[in-house]
Amino acid sequence: MNYLMSAFTGLTIVVILIPLGSILYTAIVNGGAAVISPGFFTESPGLPCSSSSGQTCHLGGVAPAISGTLVLISLAALIAVPIGVSAAIYVVEFGRNRPLGRFISSVADVLSGVPSIVAGAFVYALFYAYAPAIAFSALSGALALSVLMIPVVARTSEEALRTVPNAMREAAVALGIAKWKSTLRIVLVTALPGVVTGVLLSVARAAGEAAPLLLTAFGNPHGFQGLNLPVEAMPLQIFVFATSPFANWKELAWGMALVLILLVLGMSVVSRLVIQRLAARLQGG
């Protein structure tokens, strides 16, 4: 019976690895050539052309999409991280076991279940009502992404703050250190690995979202041109290019897909390392 159990669990591990492996494999096979081509990271996409027309196809690159994605996730993080971390601090340090604290925690849970297209539609509607001129802009795109990032940051920060032992808070109180100081400079610092992980995970999620950007950032062949203008982003461009009939565009789409996969994988690995290294310091040694 034991043998059957280990065989079965071994089998399930293989089953889990298959989708991950096949996605990675397909992305590398189809997009690897594009990613390592010169100019992939620096040029704009080449003009659309199909292989049947016989003309030489210029591949180009995806610089506008990459710079657009970077701008969007940075801006979104700038908005989401302070809000999410502050909410977590309130829930754990000031509102623990109080009705408002529990309410905020539940709201964050609900918010994390909001479909990404709904987040985009919401931000679009908001802009359409109050600032229609910039409804399609980097700003609105960043706002839509931050709506998706806030609950991730808030929940992981909340968990991280809860793991800080109460004994440490008591030690700070007993020394006569003001609560805001001890919260920010002792408790938050102790919880930092968890908070950083939350931020990295939320960035990885936001970098890959296309739906909210359909209605907000909209896309722009020139990449980032200003907060008030539409901007390109990798998921958006993948959507457009992959469904187009042009071979060079399709190849660029695979290249971007590979970049995104590696980005998410990289974030997961980095956040795991961060957690391990700083958690070891917490436990001693």
Binding site: N97, P165, A167, M168, E170, A171, A172, V173, A174, L175, G176, I177, A178, K181, S182, R185, I186, V189, T190, L192, R281, L282, Q283, G284, G285
Partner: protein, 244 residues
């Protein structure tokens, strides 16, 4: 303190306690588990009120001033506390832990901090062991060393009174002996109040002893007379081990 009562919600943990703790020297609070000694000592630096639904009635005075009329953080800077389990700040070095109170509460400069760290670690009998590794993580020390670190941290804040809530109960006998020695040395400069469930420790270390039972103060007096000629029957029963 006068007619001090402390509550958790509707549960009264300390009842109508009136006591004068002498100025210098070590006062021990003894009594069986659950008699309210920890609650009592936590009222002395206003830590009790940080517990949920906690409440205090009566007054506690330090040098004539009612501490419940003052700012809590100010009270806690004058009355320090060492807890049962060592709780150094895990992300800080030994140096940063000891200097924490000064760094957070005042604008002391490096030279002042260095001097305070040296003095406190020496008084806590830890200086020789860590003087070359002040930047090491506080969590790299052993349990006994960490507790002495916490004592140094409390001393560095320059309190008038040091409260200790069963400081040795989580430690091995050798560390306990070291800490008892250091308490003996501390009493020259500070007023120390120590809660202990170890009667022998109280007898060894303190000048005055208070015996509590079920939230009430049963007897208080110089340690020698409490242990050799207790006035109350209850005290005598506890001392001789008939219960507790």
């Amino acid at each position: 303190m006068d007619h001090l009562s402390a509550f958790y919600g509707t549960k009264r943990a300390v009842e109508d306690l009136s006591l004068r703790i002498p100025n210098a020297g070590v006062t021990a609070i003894i009594g069986p588990s659950g008699c309210g000694k920890s609650t009592f000592i936590r009222c002395l630096n206003r830590m009790h009120e940080t517990a949920p639904k906690a409440r205090v009635e009566g007054s506690v005075r330090l040098d004539g001033e009612d501490i419940y009329a003052l700012e809590p953080t100010m009270v806690r800077r004058r009355i320090g506390m060492v807890f049962q389990r060592p709780n150094p700040f895990a992300t800080m070095s030994i140096y940063d832990n000891v200097s924490a109170a000064l760094r957070f509460n005042s604008r002391a400069r490096r030279a002042e901090l260095d001097a305070a760290v040296l003095r406190s670690l020496q008084q806590a009998a830890l200086w020789d062991e860590v003087k070359d590794t002040l930047d090491a993580a506080a969590t790299s020390l052993s349990g006994g060393q960490q507790q002495r670190l916490c004592i140094a941290r409390a001393i560095a804040a320059n309190p008038e009174v040091i409260l200790m809530d069963e400081p040795c109960s989580a430690l091995d006998p050798i560390s306990t002996a070291k800490i008892e020695d250091l308490i003996f040395a501390l009493k020259k400069e500070y007023t120390v109040v120590i809660v202990t469930h170890n009667m022998q420790q109280a007898a060894r270390v303190s000048d005055f002893t208070a015996f509590m039972y079920l939230g009430k103060l049963v007897e208080f007096g110089p340690t020698q007379s409490i242990f050799e000629q207790p006035k109350e029957k209850l005290t005598e029963s506890y001392i001789t081990g008939r219960f507790g």
